[in-house]
Structure formats: C-alpha cells, structure tokens
C-alpha cells in the first residue's frame, strides 16, 4: 500500500498541547514540512516563544532554544551570529512579537538579520486566558477589554507586516492565513520561501500567519475560521508587503 500522508520527519511524534480547533498545529506542520522539503533539519535551530507556543521546543525535531518573552529575535541573532551557516527560525505569537518584544522584532528586521520569523497572529493572549493583544481588533471583547477594545482607551491594533515593510532591512514580508485549504497551501509556499531566502543569504524574512483561538474567542472551530475571515482579514489583508529578493512563492 502506498503512503500518501504521514507525519513530517521534523515534527516530533508527541501529542501537541494546543486546544481543539486551534490552528497552531497546522502552522507547526507547515514549518516541519518545509524543513523536510529543504533537507535542513540537521542544521536548523528553532526558537520557541513565551505564550501558547512555549512548548514548541518539544515539537520540532531539530535543535531548539526557549527564549524569554519577546526576546526570540535577539536570541536568534546570537545563534545566527555564532554559526552563520545554520538556519535559524523563531515562532512567536502576537503578544510576544508585537508587544513585549517589539524592539527586538523591529531591530532584527532593521539589521536585515538573516533569520526567518513565523509570526502567529490570533489577536489575543491565548496562554494566559485571552487578554487584549496589540493585534486585538477595535471593539474586540477580551478578558482585559470586557467592554470591547475602545480606541480612546487602548488605541488601535498594530499591523506588524505593513510596519516592518517600511524598513530597508527586511527581504521578504508576507501575511498569510490558514483558514482555507488554498490559504494553507499559500502559507506553506510563503514559509518555504522565507526559509529558502535564509539559505540564499537574502536576509530577514517574516511570515505573519492569521490564526484562530476558539477557546478564548468563545467560538467553535468552524465559527472561529469564519470570524477570522469576516473580522481579521479586513483589518489584516493577506498579501506580500515586501519582496526584494524576488523568486516565486509557488512550489
């Protein structure tokens, strides 16, 4: 019998801790598939964030470092500068990357650090139980914005991809989503290009992936995907914001 679907070698054979319906698992799988496809598992070092993906160091079959909250791009910089031929990626959520780690994110991008960042944006702090995130939408009800995000109180959500695209340092910045099969395939192509860019020494790549949090959004997995489509994508449009390295994103 022919095997047509199996676990990527770079994804550890353990049960992920993510909630049912959460799309972190899909994004993990895409990264593992890309590492397998590029044959780089022996020279890849991943950096896990603080947040829902804090245990990511248990999920990828490559060397891993756990970083303090928001510091993954700085840790990645240290690893990459120590061994420039290794492939270094960070996996970070919106609280980690766009709030407490904003400085590390912006300056790694400005330096054009030759690393790959996978930025998972689900508009909430998932691990701590659904608080207001820098990417929470105006009006979004969270544990710490129980009456909805009010611009006069908490201001506006940050569009990280657009913001970083204004810098000269980054090579490739793209926002994807994993709400449909087509978008999942697009996200994989983008992630693959972001790793390939690093192999080709083209510099800093960041892939923002819109993701769901059924538990903290208080919605079913299906409803969450609809909420993402109807509410997040209008604020966070999908697309390529910077691509100075060129090359195709399709497989």
């Amino acid at each position: 019998m022919k095997t047509i679907f199996e676990r990527p070698k770079s994804l550890s054979n353990v049960t992920l801790h993510y909630c049912p319906g959460c799309t972190h698992g899909i994004i993990h799988r895409l990264i593992a598939e890309v590492i397998d496809d590029l044959g780089i598992e022996g020279r890849t070092i991943g950096i896990a964030p603080v947040g829902c993906a804090v245990f990511a160091y248990n999920y990828f079959e490559c060397d891993m470092q756990e970083a303090a909250h928001g510091r993954a791009p700085a840790v990645a910089t240290g690893i990459k500068r120590a061994n420039p031929d290794n492939i270094v990626f960070t996996y970070q959520g919106d609280g980690d990357l766009a709030a407490i780690g904003t400085a590390e994110t912006v300056h790694a991008a400005a330096r054009g650090e030759n690393i790959t960042i996978i930025f998972v944006n689900n508009a909430t702090y998932g691990m701590t139980g659904g608080q207001l995130a820098p990417t929470s939408l105006v009006g979004q009800v969270t544990q710490t914005s129980p009456y909805g995000r009010k611009v006069e109180m908490q201001g506006y959500p940050i569009r990280i991809s657009e913001m970083l695209a204004t810098l000269d340092g980054p090579s490739f910045i793209k926002r994807c989503s994993v709400d449909t099969v087509k978008n999942i395939n697009d996200a994989k192509s983008a992630i693959k290009k972001a790793f390939q860019n690093q192999i080709d020494k083209k510099g800093f790549s960041l892939i923002e992936v819109l993701s769901t949090c059924p538990t903290n959004w208080g919605l079913s997995p299906i409803e969450s995907l609809e909420w993402l489509r109807n509410n997040m994508i209008p604020v966070y449009p999908l697309g390529t914001f910077k691509d100075i390295g060129g090359g195709a994103t399709d497989e």
């Binding site: 598992e41 890849t44 070092i45 060397d63 891993m64 470092q65 510091r71 690893i79 120590a82």
Partner: protein, 349 residues
C-alpha cells in the same frame, strides 16, 4: 610580552578576545563604553562579532543565543544596564549556559551618577534576576587583575556552565596601569555537546530551556545546581589576606576600596596600630571561612565599601557575633580616603 599601558575597560576587552571570546553584544552606557568601542575596533580584525544591540535586554539575549550555540560570549554594562539584563541572566542561569557579564558599577539607584560605586554588591551576589541561582562574581582591584579575572571568568563559566560576572567600578574601568597579557593560549577546548549547533543528523536534538512545569522535576534540577554551587564554594573561593595574624582590627574591602584600605593599613601600621586586610576576590563564593577564623583573634572587623553597607551583611553572617563588625562607607560616587578609614580604625581601637 612587554608590559603595555591600558585603561581598565580596554584591558577587559583585550583579555576577553585573548580568551577566545569572539562574540560580544553591547549597548552604550557610561562608564564602560570603551569596552564596546574596543570590541567594535578589534572584533573584525580577529574574525569575531561585535554587535551593538538595540537594548541591554536584547544584548543579554543575544548572549543567551550565542552561548547556547556553543561559543564564548560576553556583554558588558554599568549598573542601570545590569538591572535590564537581570531577566536574561536569570534565563542563562536557568538554562545552565556559560557566559561572562561585566558590570563597571556607577552610583545608583535609578540613573544615580556616573562615578565609582559598589552599591551593586547585592545585585551581583544575590542572584540579580528572579529565582534560585548564583553567579560567580570576580572583583579585580587592579588592571592586571582585570586581565587575570577576565581570562579565568571564561574558564569558570565553561567549567561550571553558568554566568560569571566581573564586578568593577568606574575607577577601575577608567584608570590606566601597566599590564602583562599572559602568553598562554586560551583554554577554550571545552566540548559543548549540549549546544544548539544543529544535529547534523548525527545526534538527538539539543534543547536549551529553563521551563519545567513539573515541580518535582524543577526542584531536583535546582537542587543539583545548588550542589554545584556548594562545590564551587569549596574550591573556587579567592581572596588576599595581609597582616591578619597579629591584627587587632581587620579591614575587609574589595576592588578600588581594597586599594584605599591597603593604603590606610600601611599608614596605621607605621603609626603602631595592628591593622590587617582581607580582600575578597570572589564576592560569590564569599571568603566566609577566613573571615570567621579572623573574627576569633581580631578585636573588630571593619567593612569598607563604596555603598551604604552591602558586603557588611555577608561579613556579619560569617562572623556570626564572634567579634564586632563595623562599617565605613561613602556612596553616590564619593570615594573614601585613607584618612577617613584611619579615622574609623582609631574609633574602633
């Protein structure tokens, strides 16, 4: 090699490079910026990496990454910057990573001042960041000793897989003295089989981490770390003792203050006062044994510090009430004079 005249900050940088530290991550702050400036100039010439980080926080996390990736890594700062690095230092200790952190201490709290102080003794010796952990803390008192301490800091860090701090002050950082660099090659042959260098498909993956959700596992790990600390206390404590056998008053002082205390001791001896000096070189592990032993024969011990009294607490713990422990200190960037120290000795005698 002939003696060279060098500023303390530059001597640290040169000694680090000679110890095969090729990865330095810094951020400008007075009075230690010459370390970064020297590294910026020299690292490209030796195939090393100097990177000016966006913050002290980023710099220490770059050190975390590089140390985890198996290379000798260092950062330096002065007091307010070390407060910012405290987070990263805790993670480095929790992940058992070797690295060297330099603190050229200035007066605090807050922005404080830019002149010499020793008011970061608590911060350096009691852990600095959150959690149960220690750093080895070396406190040189001359530019030559800065070189020696920098060399051994990297060896100690690698040997025990832990952060090592060199605790200087604005005086030591800024002054110049003739020094000899050792001709020996850097002792950087430690096999770091735990480092995240890529599996090369030849071994299981390595994970650098400080998160342990299971409390039993975490407690066991911390207890094992404290056994290592106990071993370090037994084997790595360094101090210099002078004239303590017949001393009625024993001064205890480190770094710049030890030089002032030494001058006071010499003058006092010339005046017929029996004064001795214990100069801790490691602040952690603290030379408690020699101080406890001295307390049995001395009339009194005086801690001399550029602070409101921090090391004096460790002295009192070591002395445990056996003899009186006095304190003389200046703070805020003020430096005690030998005459002031002699005044304190006279009060005690």
């Amino acid at each position: 090699m002939d003696k060279v005249l060098m500023k303390g900050n530059e001597a640290i940088a040169e000694a680090a490079i000679r110890a095969n530290c090729k990865h330095f991550f810094g951020y400008p702050i007075t009075p230690q910026t010459e370390i970064s400036a020297y590294m910026a100039k020299m690292m490209p010439k030796v195939g090393g990496v100097f990177l000016q980080a966006e913050s002290e926080i980023a710099a220490i996390n770059m050190v975390y990454g590089a140390a985890g990736a198996g290379v000798r890594a260092m950062t330096s700062s002065s007091s307010p910057g070390i407060s910012l690095k405290a987070e990263g230092i805790s993670y480095i200790a929790g992940a058992d990573l070797p690295c060297v952190i330099v603190n050229i201490v200035r007066a605090g709290p807050g922005l404080g001042g830019i002149l010499p102080a020793q008011s970061d003794y608590f911060q350096a010796t009691k852990g600095c960041g959150h959690g149960d952990y220690k750093m080895i803390v070396l406190s040189p008192a001359s530019i030559q000793e800065i070189v020696d301490c920098t060399t051994s800091a990297f060896d100690l860090a690698d040997k025990y897989r832990m952060p090592v701090m060199i605790l200087g002050d604005a005086m030591l950082g800024q002054m110049m003295e003739p020094i000899d660099f050792p001709d020996v090659l850097a002792n950087d042959f430690c096999e770091k089989e735990w480092a995240t260098t890529g599996t090369k498909m030849k071994r299981k993956r390595n994970v650098i981490n400080s998160l342990y959700i299971d409390p039993e596992e975490l407690e066991l790990l911390i207890k094992a770390r404290y056994e290592k600390y106990y071993n370090i206390e037994q084997t790595e404590t360094r101090y210099e003792a002078e004239n303590i056998d017949d001393a009625e008053v024993v001064l205890v002082a480190y770094g710049t203050t030890a030089r002032i205390a030494k001058a006071a001791m010499k003058t006092a001896r010339a005046d017929g006062m029996k004064v001795g000096l214990i100069r801790p070189i490691t602040l952690w592990p603290f030379p408690s044994s020699i101080i406890a032993q001295t307390a049995k024969t001395a009339k009194a011990i005086i801690s001399v510090e550029m602070s409101m009294g921090q090391m004096v607490e460790d002295i009192r713990l070591a002395v445990n009430g056996v003899c009186p422990v006095n304190f003389y200190g200046r703070t805020g960037g003020m430096i005690p004079t030998p005459a002031e120290v002699i005044g304190e000795i006279r009060r005690v005698i």
